[in-house]
């Protein structure tokens, strides 16, 4: 309904939780594409470890360098708030995506997908193969990972309501590390032989769980699902260790982030609004929150359509 004013070149930074993970890299891929068409001078920069302090340092430097918009997926909702508020006070547009910050510290938040929808998708992904009586192990990243906890909350709610016989037998953590996730996965399979499904809502964790199942030759007996980019899990999906795995289109999300950043920097977006992104669709802004999409469930049939 509106055309975006791209007359002025603006500087927009994308700050992931850490550089070096392919999920965030996929966002960058989409963002770069979009930035070209939006006359955006784009910078992808983040800390080398997933620390809030590292992000704060970077955000502060971006403020000093007078960026027009900062987009960020945060390691911690509250720790980032003071520096983001300072950025907003200087007239910099702040857009959070993926993992939110506290609402008063950003202009808009792009939620990957609604939490209940994701919870439902995760549970359905195992129920279809492990049955409604599945004994589920959860393999998450860290005990205080905000977004994982939100999803797991939704998983448990949906599970209790829909499949009362499904049970979570244990919760383990892989610290987002491939090796620790693999060890945790193997440990689950050894220590809890009754487990028939692993829900691993974290990139490294899903890969670790799938690798563990494959190592022990338990394909077909135990099923894994989670939230990982298709490149990471492609092989496991083809091998049948992972039958279905929900996520969303990370590349598309990256594009949307740039659109919202451009709109926010132009002061062209209201807290409750609608807008259309060419090639992606129409989005509603609801109290500054934009939901990117319904979960996109990767299966052996569709996974080769996605490359990120």
């Amino acid at each position: 309904q509106m055309s975006i004013d791209t007359s002025k070149t603006i500087k927009v930074a994308m700050v992931p939780k850490l550089i070096g993970l392919s999920v965030f890299k996929a966002n960058e891929q989409g963002a770069i594409e979009a930035a070209k068409s939006l006359n955006i001078n784009f910078l992808y920069t983040g800390p080398v470890t997933a620390s809030a302090q590292g992000q704060v340092d970077i955000i502060n430097s971006l403020v000093a360098r007078k960026f027009d918009a900062i987009t960020v997926t945060s390691n911690n909702p509250t720790e980032l708030a003071p520096s983001l508020k300072r950025a907003m006070a200087q007239g910099i547009a702040v857009v959070s995506y993926d993992s939110d910050v506290s609402p008063d510290a950003r202009d808009f938040f792009i939620q990957n997908t609604a939490y209940p929808a994701m919870g439902k998708a995760l549970v359905d992904s195992v129920e279809a193969y492990a049955g409604p009586n599945a004994q589920v192990a959860i393999l998450s990243s860290t005990p205080d990972a905000a977004i994982q906890n939100a999803w797991l909350g939704a998983v448990k709610t949906y599970m209790a309501a829909t499949y009362p016989n499904m049970k979570v037998v244990t919760t383990q953590y892989g610290q987002s590390s491939p090796s620790l996730s693999l060890s945790a996965g193997l440990n689950i399979l050894h220590a809890y032989p009754q487990v028939t499904a692993i829900i691993a809502p974290d990139g490294a964790a899903e890969v670790g769980a799938a690798a563990a199942i494959e190592k022990l030759g338990m394909q077909g007996k135990v099923f894994a699902t989670g939230a990982s980019d298709p490149n990471s899990i492609r092989q496991y999906v083809k091998d049948g260790v992972i039958k279905a795995s929900p996520l969303w289109d990370e590349v598309g999300e990256g594009k949307l982030v740039m659109y919202v950043a451009r709109l926010a920097a132009n002061h062209a977006l209201k807290p409750d609004d609608t807008f259309t992104v060419p090639g992606l669709g129409t989005y509603t802004v609801n109290n500054k929150v934009i939901i990117f999409s319904e979960p996109l469930v990767f299966t052996a049939e569709n996974i080769d359509k996605y490359n990120f």
Partner: protein
């Protein structure tokens, strides 16, 4: 007071030679490991299943390899904090290489060791020639090599390795022997290290340097070259461990190694194993058993259904217990 005299033996001869007290830390550790295995096994029989034991040994291989090289470095009164960064870089480089090129393993292996050797060599140069205290030198190269990993990977990560690699990480080299290749590699490296340390000049020179570098130099040992070699070996072994890591797990990210604090863990197992941080004394068997011990403890915590947040506390307590039990007491602080 003269009546107190009872000495009868020949003048100049000591009444009794002091009994030779050797601390057998490896035995203590072995016993501790068995106690944990049997104890937990009694409660949860699947803990003693072959597949679980194989897993516990397998998951100690990477740490064991790094621990061996760390033991050598610590014997020289040094420390190598950069092992985790070297491990990560090697895992990243060779993991990506295995997905992008079709280089066979027998070519990758020497290449990997050579890369690690070069990185280790720089550490050695900093320590032996520029006289930077090892902890500082390797702290510096830790950031340098860690940075290289980021630059090289440019945000990519390894999710899957070639079948060649996967077979190396998981398969059995000798078909009828149910021992995974990485475990064989660890055994081979440990045996070679033991031989070097106890039966080769190079190994004895390492010990001599750790005891008193100045005296070793005065005795004609080329301290600098030996140190250089030790750090080079450390780098090569850490890189090899990285290769084993990526072959076994099939994945690597830019924070592999550094993120898991392999450097601290490897120091911990060397010290648990009975190697003295002050140098001059090393216990390779202790290091290897120490790495198995650590992985047994962590797995035991899972089997005992301890909530996941307490794993690291359990690990910490077991490390403390391992170094305290049977430790030698000296009268001076």
């Amino acid at each position: 007071m003269n009546s107190a005299a009872t000495a009868t033996s020949e003048p100049g001869h000591r009444a009794k030679p002091r009994p030779r007290r050797r601390e057998l830390r490896e035995v203590t550790l072995l016993v501790a490991t068995f106690v944990v295995v049997l104890g937990v096994g009694a409660l949860r029989p699947s803990f003693m299943s072959f597949s679980n034991i194989e897993f516990m040994v397998l998951s100690s291989v990477v740490l064991g390899l790094v621990g061996i090289s760390q033991t050598f470095v610590i014997i020289t009164r040094g420390i190598d904090l950069s092992v985790s960064a070297v491990l990560g870089l090697s895992a990243m480089v060779f993991g990506l290489l295995s997905t992008t090129s079709s280089m066979p393993l027998w070519q990758v292996l020497p290449l990997c060791m050579a890369m690690g050797a070069v990185l280790g060599c720089l550490n050695g140069f900093l320590v032996a020639w520029l006289k930077i205290p090892p902890i500082i030198a390797t702290l510096g190269t830790y950031s340098l090599y860690g940075g290289l990993t980021f630059i090289y990977s440019n945000g990519l990560q390894v999710d899957q390795v070639s079948p060649d690699f996967a077979a190396f990480g998981n398969g059995n080299l000798i078909p009828f022997l149910p021992v995974p290749t990485p475990v064989l590699a660890l055994i081979a490296v440990a045996t070679a290290a033991w031989f070097v340390l106890n039966h080769m000049k190079f190994g004895r020179n390492i010990l001599a340097i750790g005891n008193n570098a100045a005296a070793a130099y005065n005795a004609g040992i080329s301290v600098r070259r030996t140190l250089l070699a030790v750090y080079t070996i450390s780098g090569a072994l850490a890189a090899f461990a990285g290769l084993v890591f990526v072959a076994y797990t099939g994945s690597a990210t830019a924070t592999t190694g550094t993120g898991d604090h392999v450097e601290l863990q490897s120091i911990a197992i060397a010290l648990i194993g009975g190697t003295a941080i002050a140098g001059g004394r090393g216990n390779l068997a202790g290091t290897v058993i120490g790495s198995v011990f650590l992985s047994v403890v962590i797995t035991a915590l899972v089997f005992l259904q301890v909530p996941a947040i307490w794993y690291s506390a359990g690990e910490g307590l077991m490390i403390l217990a391992a170094v305290t039990l049977g430790a030698r007491r000296s009268s001076n602080p």
